[in-house]
């Protein structure tokens, strides 16, 4: 794009054909660069392929990287060429030839950038819609759901059915807990998922804004107090994955991380049964499962006072009794 000459021939007094050689070099470098990015770098790009949304993001990174490569190489090559060949000779005080612009070059540039940009927007939209929102939080009313799933039952789940697995992610300063409504509504600090089954994360918060980032699952959804934020993915390989908070939430934000695991379906069912029994006594005193919880039930203000905390200490503005601003 950048390599065309504003003057018709593109030749100079010294006979070097800048436009021609720039174009040739650019094409050669771009082909090599694109192949390297698409075939060598692409399969190793984060966030990997542990889930459907991660895999689609990896494809997306690869496609964007491949398109960006010729642009970056073109500009760098051009600047490098200018620095090498278009320097003023020592002792030369004259100006260069006055070129005020070129309608043809400008038109080519504008059309090509517009085409690339519009194509990227169309591609991005497709990549957003087809993998059910690409793992991003879609708010309380998600519009892109995994194909063939329903939310027919919030109280039971069987593997392979169209009823989607619900996992509630609750953020609070500064830990994640997870609730499984379809297994009696127990709340645990371990995030376990079955492989090959679509999952619906219902992300909410009890105090401030957090962001649930299951890194290699390619899921990110802000946890907002009093709001439900839904994200979908389908784990495709068993193994561990990192969970981090990616929205600044107070002093221990940096320590708000966790490790989840994708299990085989029988192992997952076994884990739910043992955990359900283990936590039965706790589950009884928990508030009933809901999409959001009223944080004012949490007596953090009094805990703060007891601990002598004055800064962000996990408290929350209490509407009924505003003792903790």
């Amino acid at each position: 794009m950048a390599a065309e000459s504003p003057t018709a021939a593109g030749t100079r007094v010294d006979g070097r054909r800048d436009g021609f050689w720039l174009l040739v070099l650019w094409i050669v470098l771009s082909v090599i660069g694109c192949l390297l990015v698409a075939l060598v770098l692409g399969p190793h790009l984060p966030p990997g392929d542990q889930s459907s949304s991660a895999a689609s993001q990896q494809t997306d990174f690869t496609v964007l990287g491949t398109i960006a490569t010729p642009v970056v190489l073109g500009v760098l090559l051009y600047i490098g060429w200018a620095l090498t060949f278009w320097r003023q000779k020592p002792g030369d005080e004259t100006d260069a030839a006055p070129i005020h612009g070129s309608t043809r070059i400008s038109a080519i540039w504008i059309v090509s950038t517009s085409v690339i940009v519009l194509a990227l927007a169309v591609y991005g939209t497709i990549e957003l819609i087809t993998p059910a929102g690409a793992g991003a939080g879609q708010g309380p009313q998600p519009i892109w759901k995994p194909a063939g799933t329903t939310t027919s039952s919030l109280t039971s789940w069987t593997p392979g059915s169209s009823n989607i697995l619900q996992v509630q992610v609750i953020g609070q300063q500064w830990a994640w807990t997870y609730r499984y409504p379809q297994f009696g509504g127990f709340e645990t600090t371990q995030l376990m998922l079955p492989v090959g089954e679509p999952v619906q994360f219902n992300v909410t918060s009890l105090d401030v804004i957090h962001s649930f980032w299951a890194y290699t699952l390619g899921v990110k959804a802000d946890a907002n107090p009093g709001l439900n934020n839904v994200a979908y993915t389908t784990p495709e390989h068993t193994g561990y994955f990192q969970v981090r908070c990616s929205e600044l939430c107070g002093i221990w934000h940096g320590s708000m991380y966790d490790t989840g695991e994708v299990l085989s379906v029988p192992a997952f069912l076994k884990w739910t049964q043992t955990t359900k029994v283990q936590l039965a006594a706790v589950t009884k005193i928990l508030p009933p499962y809901a999409l959001t919880y009223d944080p004012t039930n949490i007596p953090a203000g009094k805990i703060n006072t007891a601990l002598g905390l004055t800064s962000a200490g996990g408290g929350y503005y209490n509407p009924a009794d505003p003792e903790q601003p």
């Binding site: 504003p6 003057t7 993001q57 960006a68 970056v72 278009w86 005080e93 934020n229």
Partner: protein, 653 residues
């Protein structure tokens, strides 16, 4: 349009009164920074006392350790006391008492070194005040960045507590974002725009001086947060964390809001100056690209910053007066704050980028010895970016859970911004074509601007794409992206501008060898610092964390050591700057770069009145290599020419 013929602006109605000029007092009794400090201290004590008095009746304040009333009222009275002490309201009082007031061109009270510490109406003094002020804020923010990188040397061993770490992160971010809004418009815009358009003055000298003198106040209030326990929210100040936080948060809200007011005034002054104070013959098609950039930036400041001021005001009232703008349980919404903040925040990103475009577009023709390739395309690019910047803010909220329907639209608008940005690259690359490059220090910075901004811009396309953003959002990838555009773009252009215009502004040449050492160390250390952070982010490290995964330590250590080198590079600049302007004082020729810009046609440093008489502009500023081009302006037009030129430009509108 007329400069000489028009009566003094409404701001100085008594300037020509026969009643005499204002009395010049003794040095120490004249208002200046020392009286301002006294006023600020008195104001704070008064406000704090009043706040305690009022809040005594509130159970909420009595039951907690925090008394946000007293702090906020203290800050408010501090600002007023500071301004009274500076003498900002002197002319107002004189006018109310029927006494003569100071005229914009009466500099008799402002001579000598002391004028840099006073509230003056000379745009060149304000420009230099801004330059030194911005450098001080920049280096303070830089020291905080060094502290952050020191903490991140190890994933588990800590040199700071998490509270201190977040204080430092928040102060670094807020301080940098506050200074970046003015870093080019403040010094270069205020100093050079009137000269570049052939005017003796700016439109609103009092607003201009006020816009500067609010900044020291804003920065001191921001720094006072350290004494009040800091604020844990970073520069974004998301509610409800900001409502929950302690007293340090008040510093953030008041300081950022105050800076918002400062940039509204600065932008307003620049826009009106450019529209109304151009010399005869300075048509829109002859305006230097830097002035175009200042015009678009000024528009963005005036239109976007009020939203910031409103948002900060709401935070303050949420924290003190028990309003509930951002509290979901009481009918407010934390989304409201995110929307307000980014509705300001994204235009702000272009408030930072456009001046950089302006400076490099100004430097390229001079050092390629060619006209700008596609002058109108460059101006269209600036306007395109400025207009589109108001339609993209939701891309900061792709994962927030706001209505997903809007995502394809905001993905499209965000990506559309690459078209006008691409136009700037087209102009730059076209100007390079078969040029005669002079690799002076300013030119090196300009070329590095394009190198860095290329990576900043391309990574921005990744972030605009919702699926890719799901991984990149909130990670170090974002951090690397905006440091590439702001530091790699704006700050490189800023340093290029300093090396380019300092000979004109101060009359001294910076040492070129040290300048080149500064450039190369800064360029290499900058890229070595921020390039790996793209990888760090994609490998799963969120922003503003205090602990990170152990496998990322090698990359983080590399980044930290590079950041220390970057700090060292800044020391070379400070040494060069101080030595060149204070010790060596090597006199610069009037036009060392052999440039055509109007500012280079007058002596260095410019005389108090800029021009002996208003020049008549004859040609555009970039006509290099054209043997038939007229000189850029007639500095001593014969009588009668101005009247004719006025008629002509007047009809052009």
């Amino acid at each position: 349009m007329a400069i000489e013929t028009q009566p003094e602006s409404a701001q100085a109605p008594g300037g020509d009164d026969p009643g005499g000029t204002p009395r010049v007092r003794n040095f120490w009794l004249r208002p200046g920074i020392h009286t301002a400090v006294i006023g600020a201290v008195i104001g704070y004590l008064l406000g704090h006392w009043l706040g305690d008095f009022i809040a005594g009746g509130y159970q909420q304040s009595a039951a907690s350790d925090d008394n946000d009333f007293a702090i906020v009222l203290g800050f408010s009275f501090l600002i007023v006391g500071w301004l009274i002490g500076l003498g900002v309201f002197d002319d107002l009082m004189r006018q109310m008492l029927g006494r003569p007031i100071r005229s914009w061109d009466d500099h008799s009270a402002n001579v000598g070194f002391g004028r840099y510490f006073r509230y003056t109406l000379d745009h060149k003094v304000v420009g230099l005040q801004y330059l030194v002020g911005m450098l001080i804020y920049f280096f303070t923010g830089g020291l905080l960045a060094i502290a952050i990188r020191t903490e991140l040397l190890s994933p588990t061993y800590h040199v700071m507590s998490p509270t201190t770490y977040l204080e430092v992160v928040g102060e670094h971010g807020t301080m940098m974002m506050m200074m970046m809004t003015s870093v080019i418009l403040g010094p270069f815009g205020n100093y050079l725009v009137p000269i570049m358009i052939g005017s003796k003055r700016v439109a609103f000298p009092r607003l201009e001086a006020l816009s500067f003198w609010l900044t020291p106040c804003a920065f001191l209030i921001l720094l006072s947060s350290f004494l009040l326990g800091g604020f844990p929210t970073g520069w974004t100040g998301y509610a409800p964390l900001s409502i929950q936080a302690g007293e340090g948060m008040d510093s953030y809200a008041v300081a950022f809001g105050l800076m918002g007011i400062s940039i509204i005034l600065a932008g307003f002054n620049i826009v009106v100056t450019i529209i109304c104070y151009r010399a005869p013959g300075m048509r829109w098609s002859r305006l230097p690209m830097f002035v175009w950039a200042m015009l678009t930036t000024g528009f963005l400041l005036v239109l976007a910053a009020p939203v910031l001021v409103g948002g900060m005001y709401m935070i303050v009232t949420d924290r003190t007066a028990q309003t509930a703008f951002f509290i979901d349980q009481l009918g407010g919404s934390s989304y409201l704050y995110e929307d307000l903040f980014w509705f300001f925040g994204h235009p702000e990103v272009y408030i930072l980028a456009l001046p950089g475009f302006g400076i490099v577009c100004e430097l390229l023709p001079v050092f390629t010895r060619k006209p700008l390739f596609g002058y109108k395309i460059a101006a269209a690019g600036l306007f395109g970016v400025a207009i589109l910047s108001f339609f993209v803010w939701q891309h900061h909220l792709f994962d927030s859970g706001m209505d997903p329907d809007m995502r394809p639209l905001f993905m499209l608008t965000t990506e559309l911004i690459s078209i006008p940005t691409g136009l700037i690259f087209l102009v730059a690359l076209g100007t390079f074509w078969q040029a005669k490059l002079r690799l002076t220090v300013p030119m090196l910075f300009a070329i590095a601007f394009f190198f860095n901004f290329l990576f900043g811009g391309i990574s921005g396309v990744f972030l605009s794409d919702v699926p890719a953003d799901t991984t990149a959002h909130g990670s170090f990838f974002v951090m690397a992206h905006f440091h590439y555009t702001i530091m790699g773009g704006l700050i490189f252009a800023f340093f290029g501008g300093i090396y380019y215009w300092l000979p004109k502004v101060m009359g001294f040449t910076m040492n070129e060898r040290l300048g080149k050492i500064h450039f190369w160390t800064m360029f290499i250390a900058f890229n070595s610092t921020f390039m790996p952070l793209f990888a760090v982010g994609l490998l799963g490290q969120p922003r503003r964390v205090w602990e990170y995964a152990a496998n990322l330590q090698t990359l983080n250590d590399w980044v930290s050591i590079s950041a220390f080198c970057l700090g060292g590079s800044m020391c070379i600049f400070i040494f060069n700057f101080v030595m060149s302007t204070v010790i060596w004082r090597k006199r610069a020729p009037q036009n060392p770069w052999n440039a055509r810009g109007l500012e280079w046609q007058i002596p260095s440093p410019p005389p108090v009145d800029n021009f002996a008489q208003i020049p008549v502009v004859l040609a555009g500023p970039y006509e290099y290599g054209d043997p038939d081009a007229l000189p850029v302006a007639d500095l001593y037009p014969p009588a009668g020419v101005i009247a004719g030129a006025l008629v002509r430009t007047g009809t052009e509108g």
